[in-house]
């Protein structure tokens, strides 16, 4: 069988892949040229992206072309409009956009420019998380290069198309506006009322990276990879107890086992797989026996999980799922913005309970309480999905690893610790 075609990471292993020179030598800005000089109308670009079946890579998997088509017609709605690029990946396990930002920043800029052309946007913001110093600097440098070379700014390639891209380091829409990063309730949706109340589309970095390739090679080529409902390749960040953790490009629908074995070199130290997370901490734990699942939106949904950001985390047979969950619960407690009652109090409560169970202070009734609390927090009970992100792994632990929770409660200690080891539960903010 021939190995699948790579495009997302086609440039990243080349020396100086982040520079304009290297980028230009490897198909760089050709898609943009084709769009601007080939007489594509914005609608045709959106049509092509729709036909390709590209789904957002930020976690929700929403069809990108459809999202773009939600932007109001500029003839009828002449308000300024924006593209906000989410380069704030922050879910535990997720580190795929970082590779693209550091090693292929021009690929992102080209994707942004085509998206802006399609949605007739003149200003795009790239929201880079504060911790991403190098990625931020690389994007900023690439922007300066692209601007100097005329790829960004007024009348790009002597066309009518002008587009300005700004790098930002802190929050998303609220944060871009200089406010606290509090999620906003929907409706109104960003397409009608986004940044500064203007029509806005928010896209993930990897999503936009796909766009120039769709333009260059066609929707049909794109559909030849991946599955029918989830076409294309995806970046999988695999971490945890594996021999070769890293970010790999695979067609959607590749089995998790194949990724684990062929790319990551299998579970480390020759151990057995106990549990794994398919797409970042919020997609929850699956038992090791389900490693045969395909990595695409629908297969994982059917298995009661999600593709999320395809950030796979592997736990070997010596790992304690309760402890792993306790660390994740603490993350959600720490990251909750605190707006919604259920999330603010619930994430803290879950973290407290998991910590007690891991430390040996758990009660039998705590296990059902976990389920009950998670039901009170999600689904869809809060403004954003952070409460869901805490509830889903909680449900998964109770569903698949109830025996392990019970063993903690019965023994009054973590069974995975040897007798002379002190409790390893991480100390929370309220200890």
């Amino acid at each position: 069988m021939k190995s699948p075609e790579l495009y997302l990471l086609s440039r990243t292993n080349r020396p100086d892949s982040h520079t304009l020179d290297v980028f230009r030598r490897h198909e760089g800005y050709q898609a943009l040229e084709r769009v601007l000089k080939g007489g594509f109308s914005p609608q045709e670009v959106i049509g092509m992206v729709k036909d390709s079946g590209l789904r957002g890579r930020g976690g929700a998997g929403f069809p990108t072309g459809l999202k773009w088509s939600f932007m109001p017609d500029p003839e009828k709605d002449p308000r300024p409009r924006y593209l906000a690029v989410n380069a704030d990946e922050s879910e535990p396990g997720t580190c795929k956009d970082r590779v693209l930002l550091e090693k292929d920043p021009h690929g992102l800029i080209e994707g942004i420019l085509i998206a802006c052309y399609a949605m007739q946007v003149k200003t795009a913001y790239v929201y880079v998380r504060g911790e991403y110093r190098l990625p931020h600097d690389r994007v900023a440098k690439a922007l300066a290069e692209a601007r100097a070379a005329g790829w960004v700014g007024e009348n790009i390639l002597d066309s009518d198309f002008s587009c300005e891209i700004c790098g930002e380091e802190t929050g998303l829409m609220e944060s871009l506006e200089g406010k606290r990063g509090h999620p906003r309730p929907k409706p109104p949706f960003p397409a009608g009322f986004g940044l500064w109340g203007q029509p806005t589309t928010v896209n993930n970095v990897e999503t936009l990276h796909n766009v120039p390739f769709i333009i260059l090679r066609g929707a049909e080529w794109y559909r030849s990879m991946g599955t029918e409902k989830s076409p294309g390749n995806i970046l999988v960040g695999i971490s945890g107890h594996v021999e070769r953790p890293g970010v790999y490009e695979v067609p959607l629908g590749t089995s998790a086992q194949k990724i684990l074995e062929d790319h990551a070199g299998g579970v480390w130290k020759g151990r057995k797989l106990k549990a794994w997370i398919p797409g970042g901490s919020s997609t929850g734990f699956l038992p090791g026996s389900q490693i045969g699942l395909s990595m695409d939106h629908d297969s994982l949904k059917e298995a009661g999980s999600m593709l999320g950001t395809a950030a796979m985390i592997m736990l070997d047979e010596t790992a304690c799922v309760v402890r792993a969950m306790q660390v994740m619960a603490r993350f959600y407690d720490h990251e909750s913005c605190g707006q919604c009652s259920q999330c603010r109090e619930g994430t803290e409560w879950l973290s407290q309970i998991f910590r007690r169970i891991e430390c040996g202070d758990g009660r039998v009734e705590d296990i059902d309480l976990l389920t009950s609390l998670a039901n009170g927090m999600a689904p869809g009970k809060t403004i954003c999905a952070l409460a869901d992100a805490a509830a889903i792994p909680t449900h998964s632990v109770v569903r698949h690893f109830r025996a392990e929770l019970e063993a903690h409660v019965e023994q009054g200690r973590c069974p995975y610790l040897s007798n002379d080891q002190p409790s390893q539960a991480t100390v929370g903010a309220h200890a």
């Binding site: 309730p185 407690d333 909750s336 605190g338 009652s341 259920q342 109090e345 409560w349 009170g376 009970k381």
Partner: protein
């Protein structure tokens, strides 16, 4: 208007307002914490869950404060799913709540208490230690913050952003570590801080002046109008044991003050509790002012007015329209032009409520033909009169003790006021009810009529001012008839 169905009944809903507005208008008691009709909805507390069905879609539970109404929407505020969602939400809100209701000033009018009783479960399931935060953080001269009771609804934050347009509060910290805070711990400023205690749905923001003063269920509330400026905000006067006014709170009036009132008005109630009130009547005698009964005092006033030709009648701008009408009749009878003391504008004017004009019924009295004159002008005029009748609460204060004391004894001063006046020229002094003890109407700066209501009994021997005035008119008319016969 959009037609929707709420709990089986067709309702016309305002399409520009969120669903919760229609629910409340229809009488469905959907709970709310972060939502306040006068503030931008944020949909963060998640308590106002109702079940909504649209078209063929299966019913779903949504927050009513962030759901727009749409034609044909079927709303069930009493659905099992909605109740369960609210119960869950309350359990989270109560997890770290100190439950110190027995010592909380809000108890009895606390939304957390009320909705927990209506929706919540009897027992908590948490065994975790409750959060320990600051329980008495001063936010300035007016407000104390109890961070433990706070449910972070952010109404207080939005009050300053949306109403006074000067942000002073924010949510500091993240997640479960969030607390309400002023910027850089600076004290709150401005004349509208007291509103925070009203809009706080729990006992987190309380008035320093009302802390531990009364249990709210012992307060008797009367609907009245504030008399501290010519805006005439609708208020509730709240009295403990029929004796002491414990607080004034704004009452919703879409045309005057909406939900708000200023602190000047809110904390003006000490005046209503001031001791040393005048009773029936006092007459100047050999041993100073001597107590007499009301009839005797009124006879004296009638006699003085009848005997002298150069009289003056001066009203307080706190007079109601009803009292003003009678006084105008009296003035007409005496053939003098009625006037009122017009106090100077103060520096409290703002673009929200306070007009800077301390006279609550200026417009009304002017409509009745009264002329406003300054205290100084009036004292100068009085010095040349044979007698003067000063009528209404605060009249002594408005004319000034010094000015009144300077008047020669040739001016026969007669006053109807709440508190004693000291002046050598004083002949008769009668007590009268203050604005918390009588009924009537004031006309505000924009022509809106505000009703004042009797919230507590007037001191013994004091009676309604209109009756005193009518009695005086009768005494003067009696004289007229005598002359005719």
């Amino acid at each position: 208007m959009t037609k929707i169905i709420i709990d089986g009944q067709e309702v016309e809903a305002d399409p520009h307002k969120p669903l919760i507005h229609a629910c409340h208008g229809h009488g469905s008691d959907v709970p709310m914490y972060c939502y306040h009709p006068g503030l931008t909805p944020v949909g963060s507390c998640r308590i106002c869950q109702v079940e909504v069905q649209q078209g063929e879609m299966p019913p779903r539970v949504v927050v009513a404060c962030r759901t727009p109404v749409s034609e044909g929407m079927v709303v069930n505020t009493d659905a099992a799913g909605a109740h369960e969602a609210r119960r869950q939400c309350l359990e989270f809100l109560l997890k770290n709540h100190p439950l110190d209701c027995p010592i909380c000033d809000k108890a009895g009018e606390c939304d957390l208490q009320d909705f927990s009783f209506a929706e919540g479960q009897g027992e908590g399931r948490s065994v975790e230690p409750r959060r320990k935060l600051e329980k008495r953080k001063s936010l300035g001269d007016v407000i104390v913050l109890d961070q433990e009771r706070c449910i972070l609804c952010s109404r207080c934050v939005r009050f300053f952003e949306d109403v006074t347009h000067k942000a002073q509060l924010t949510v500091a910290g993240m997640g479960a570590r969030s607390v309400i805070s002023t910027f850089a711990d600076r004290p709150l400023t401005g004349n509208y801080q007291g509103n925070l205690a009203d809009i706080c749905p729990v006992g987190a923001l309380t008035l320093k002046k009302f802390r531990f003063q009364a249990r709210v269920w012992n307060l008797h509330k009367s609907f009245s109008t504030c008399g501290e400026c010519s805006r005439g905000c609708s208020i509730s006067v709240e009295v403990l044991r029929r004796r002491e006014v414990k607080r004034l709170r704004p009452r919703y009036n879409p045309e005057v003050n909406r939900w708000w009132m200023c602190d000047t008005g809110r904390f003006s109630f000490d005046r209503f509790n001031r001791a040393g009130r005048l009773g029936a009547g006092l007459l100047a005698g050999r041993r100073g002012m001597e107590a007499v009964d009301r009839e005797r005092a009124l006879d004296e006033v009638g006699d003085i007015l009848r005997v002298h030709a150069h009289n003056e009648v001066i009203a307080s701008p706190w007079l109601t329209q009803e009292e003003g009408q009678e006084l105008a009749r009296l003035a007409q009878r005496l053939g003098v032009e009625p006037c009122f003391v017009s106090p100077p504008a103060n520096d409290l004017e703002d673009d929200l409520l306070h007009t800077g004009d301390p006279s609550p019924n200026r417009r009304g009295l002017e409509e009745l033909g009264f002329v406003g004159r300054t205290a100084r002008e009036l004292i100068e005029t009085l010095a040349q009169r044979e007698s003067a009748l000063l009528v209404g609460e605060r009249i002594g204060e408005l004319l000034g003790a010094e000015g009144l004391a300077s008047l020669p004894r040739s001016v026969r001063l007669m006053a109807i006021d709440t508190h004693p006046i000291e002046a050598p020229a004083l002949r008769v002094l009668l007590g009268t009810p203050d604005a918390s003890e009588r009924e009537g109407t004031w006309v505000n700066v924009d022509g809106h009529v505000g009703r004042i209501a009797s919230a507590k009994p007037a001191p013994e021997g004091v009676r309604v001012l209109c009756r005193d005035l009518v009695d005086l008119i009768e005494r003067l008319e009696g004289q007229g008839q005598e002359t005719l016969s």
